[in-house]
Symmetry: C2
Subunit: 252 residues, 2 copies
């Protein structure tokens, strides 16, 4: 009979179960702690059954990344729709990224693993394509804002510079900062007390460097970002707060 109830559980989406267990394992024990053996054990499935859902371990990792990227795209689209001047919409994207990082603390760890060539090369073209789709949609969101700014006269790009290059600048800075932040090297040592704030300010200075108006000297983007988080992303901010409280309780 215990077999029966277990079978009933199995019927309900097993794939989601596998992904959830895998996500928690990665979050709590890192890449080395994530193993097919232990996922199967935790879910009381045989190892063989895992391979009916995912052809290899790396596919699970990519599936998890795709799941969070899908949610990230929703956030990006909402941010890009913030009804204001283009540079304020970019600030909204920045707020969105920070919320995403706080809501999906496992995502950057997963992306680090996925970017190892030996992991990436084992993934299937189908899932890779889905990931590229999400990524190019996110880039498209932001480059769309850049184009709007140009159309409205807030920004004039120098000859030879494409909107995508500017997006690459924002992306690489954000990605680099988040990766440095997620990995163990302490930033406090070298004198960065509030890395999120430092990132936001550096991003703003990059846009200033391209002459995107209103410049950060003409407008208080820090206050705007706080307002966007509190009002426009109220639901997401509240969720992030709850998650932080739970994490605090666990560590205490």
């Amino acid at each position: 009979m215990t077999t029966l109830t277990r079978k009933q559980r199995e019927v309900r989406d097993r794939e989601a179960q596998i992904l959830e267990v895998a996500r928690n394992m990665l979050l709590e024990q890192g890449y080395h702690g994530l193993s097919m053996d232990r996922i199967a054990e935790a879910l009381e499935y045989s190892k063989g059954t895992m391979y009916q859902h995912f052809s290899c371990k790396e596919e699970i990792i990519l599936a998890l990344v795709n799941a969070s990227l899908t949610d990230r795209l929703v956030i990006f689209r909402k941010a890009a729709s913030y009804p204001s001047r283009p540079r304020e919409r970019i600030a909204a994207v920045g707020v969105g990224v920070e919320l995403f990082v706080r809501l999906y603390p496992h995502h950057f760890k997963l992306e680090q693993v996925l970017r190892l060539s030996s992991v990436w090369e084992k993934t299937s073209p189908e899932r890779r394509q889905f990931m590229h789709h999400c990524e190019s949609q996110c880039v498209g969101c932001v480059s769309g804002i850049v184009r709007d700014a140009i159309a409205q006269g807030d920004l004039t790009l120098p000859e030879g510079v494409t909107p995508e290059q500017l997006v690459f600048g924002l992306w690489s800075m954000s990605f680099g900062a988040q990766t440095i932040l997620a990995s163990s090297t302490s930033l406090v040592d070298i004198g960065i007390g509030d890395p999120h704030r430092a990132l936001a300010q550096n991003q703003a200075r990059l846009l200033d460097g391209y002459g995107w108006r209103p410049l950060s000297s003409e407008f208080d983007y820090e206050a705007l970002s706080e307002r966007i988080a509190r009002e426009y992303f109220a639901k997401e901010t509240e969720q992030a707060m709850k998650l932080a409280q739970k994490a605090n309780r666990n560590s205490a």
Copy 2:
């Protein structure tokens, strides 16, 4: 007697042999291709002997990172000593980083692996400290240039912004761009034809955003960077060219 000649080889620094084999394995076959078994086999040592030099696999990775970071520090120091105005010295650091990436193509792959928490946590405090020393020296090189710029009046940082925060901006953008570049996701897809050039321009715009003079609109930093590579870093540039030719021959 064959045993004797092998022993003679063993006497000469075995540690360096292990590191060289490991570096090539990682470069050619990725993280999954790097194993204690295969290093021992390639060098005709027993597995046990490996553990007299390195207490675990992760220590080899960190030792490799420390070796390339040591060389990177030499490049940073040379770049920071470029006899010119501070912003031109920053450009020299940019050239240095690009040369480093080309001369040590394995470094960013290694750093990606090392930043996985499950890898980092297994490393020894001694080697970690060495790595932190190299990193903070590199940061110190660049923040020293920032301070010189402030002292000479080329740059005025806004209140509450430290030189380290600016360095963090350059660092995160560079690190993010290199990591995105080193991993498989194609940048060409999203319209970045020459990522190194895009990075250099974005870095320049970040400095422009902080008002660091001469601005990129007032000075041709691209031409300067080419000259620095050709003249100031002549030896390193030549080495990088040779390496690129060898890589081309291997792939052809």
